[in-house]
Symmetry: C2
Subunit: 324 residues, 2 copies
């Protein structure tokens, strides 16, 4: 019997955070791809478009107030759009660290603001047309709900169970272990860790964690926020450099529930962000989560260790800025 | 307080089969779509392409035997491709009922054959480039595994729990209820029911169920197989007619586990097929399962009742055949 090699032999892995299994079939990467390629959307985005409702100073079809940079646009009570920058042609990795820091402060504020009333405040960014983003102006959304949604509910349960059995937060302990093993680390800084989780489903999925035990975004210290801005810039630069494209993804923050839960014991929670990017082979060939994945089990085509190694090796200077 | 209307008011629904929640936000359909549209791939497929390894008689690069229609091509032991027809330019709804019946017989045989050894035999079809299908020749795949994958595992648990509490199979009981309520029915026949489940996630998702308690595909009687072929032709014709396009989807069969489980008590199981089509608004505008869906909870943009009503109203004659 041959020795087991994760990069050669199909195997399954458990996701202890969301209580799910993933099938790892790294041998599939050896097959050539003959399927759909995405149209390359390299049309340049104008810096300012007076007809784009997310641009500052734009007039809206319905005569409502325009959105201003880093302000929040209330739609229904629980649904906001937050713009990252006055310009439409920049993305987070192309912004300065202080500009990203301002986004982090806005995330913390909106968590405080909506978290006063709602038990769950979901901050998420859909980046790129491939991720259903219908406006190129850099922005994220915040959807607050009066219930704990399904995925946070599963994270609540798993972290609660782990904490009651081990007396420590699951993700804090997991981060420590990954710092020792190193093979799945992408980036580390004084206050933050970025890694490809053992159970990653998307090809270049990452998990962003504070080193310290932190429950929610508003608790982050000024030093932790500055450091986070710098780590985000580095991670997103690596992502863009991987296929020399503005890397599409959905990302979002998970922290302890808010609303009436804010005062309750949430020590089992650890703040974290998930990055879920769809690209697999190039700027135009994505991973399709279809068939087997929809009917049987999540399935990935390269190991998390291979993904981490590739991301680690990439430069921290953006390919667009390096060419200048 | 206004009366609750599912088509107007955001609400959540529980999926008792897979133990998940879905957020229904039908008001979102009122928003115009400005995002990505899919390239229309209406390039005609040649009836026979001697270089396509899925065409009968084709020679393969590696000199292996070619695949013959409705035969199974062994790749690794647990991974097969099954062709539906000798021609590349037909799809299931364009085939005759006896041709579809032959596919059903092949599905039953492959379940018997692989089920002798493996506890789970996943038959699935990825149709269309949008669903990651890399070869237009009509075919499905069969992946067998030595473990019960995550989603069947959740279905096992839910059906087991329901059966032990109510003494009846969950899905048999659910089918009966939908036959009485009628609002989510798409098609019914002597032996089969097609409905948009109460908990559907994809815009036009359907569930195909036998009326009788059936554990696995091989148990279907000749009459049930003929009737299934006719129901499949009608359903897939409605799908194609919805946006006058060859409707993309992933579909697959779930039945009681096989292998060593075949003899065990599986009375809580009911055979069924899931159809997961991605299109939302037109042949080129799909639903994106991103951001909120990946981080918080599945979310749909029209109610299952609205989807069922639209599918019910569509003709059972294919738009391509009607034009002739
Ligand atoms: O094996 P195929 O058809 O090339 O691959 C397709 O189906 C697989 C099983 O659903 C998916 O994992 C792939 O992402 C998809 O492209
Ligand atoms: O509200 P948007 O940005 O138009 O919509 C986008 O994000 C939503 C939340 O993740 C998804 O439900 C939509 O499918 C997607 O297109």
């Amino acid at each position: 019997a041959a020795t087991f090699r994760a990069s050669e032999h199909q195997h399954i892995r458990y996701n202890p955070l969301q209580d799910e299994w993933v099938l790892v079939s790294a041998h599939r990467m050896k097959r050539p791809w003959q399927g759909q390629v995405e149209p390359q959307l390299l049309k340049t985005v104008p810096r300012h478009d007076p007809l784009n409702p997310l641009c500052p100073g734009a007039t809206r079809a319905n005569g409502e107030d325009p959105v201003t940079t880093l302000s929040s646009e209330p739609k229904p009570p629980e649904d906001k759009v937050m713009c990252f920058h006055p310009w439409s042609d920049v993305t987070l990795p192309l912004m300065s660290v202080p500009e990203i820091r301002a986004v982090i402060d806005a995330w913390a504020s909106v968590t405080d603001e909506l978290g006063a009333q709602y038990p769950w405040v979901q901050i998420f960014e859909n980046k790129g047309a491939m991720m259903g983003c219908s406006n190129p102006h850099p922005h994220c959304q915040v959807w607050a709900s009066s219930f704990l949604p399904d995925i946070p509910q599963r994270e609540e349960r798993s972290q609660q169970t782990y904490h009651s059995q081990h007396g420590k937060p699951l993700l804090l302990e997991y981060g420590h272990q990954e710092l020792l093993r190193k093979e799945r680390l992408v980036l580390t800084s004084e206050h933050w860790i970025v890694l490809v989780p053992f159970w990653a489903v998307w090809p270049f999925q990452t998990l962003l964690l504070p080193r310290r035990h932190v429950l929610r975004l508003p608790e982050l210290t000024p030093a932790e926020r500055d450091d986070l801005a710098s780590v985000m810039k580095k991670l997103l630069t690596k992502y863009d450099n991987l296929f020399e494209t503005s890397f599409p993804y959905s990302m979002g923050w998970h922290g302890a529930p808010t609303g009436l839960q804010t005062g309750a014991t949430c020590d089992h929670w650890q703040l974290h962000a998930h990055y879920y990017p769809p690209l697999l082979r190039s700027a135009t060939v994505r991973k399709f989560m279809v068939g087997y994945e929809m009917l049987a089990q999540a399935q990935r085509d390269l190991t998390p260790e291979q993904a981490a190694e590739r991301l680690r090796a990439l430069p921290e200077v953006h390919y667009c800025l390096a060419q200048k």
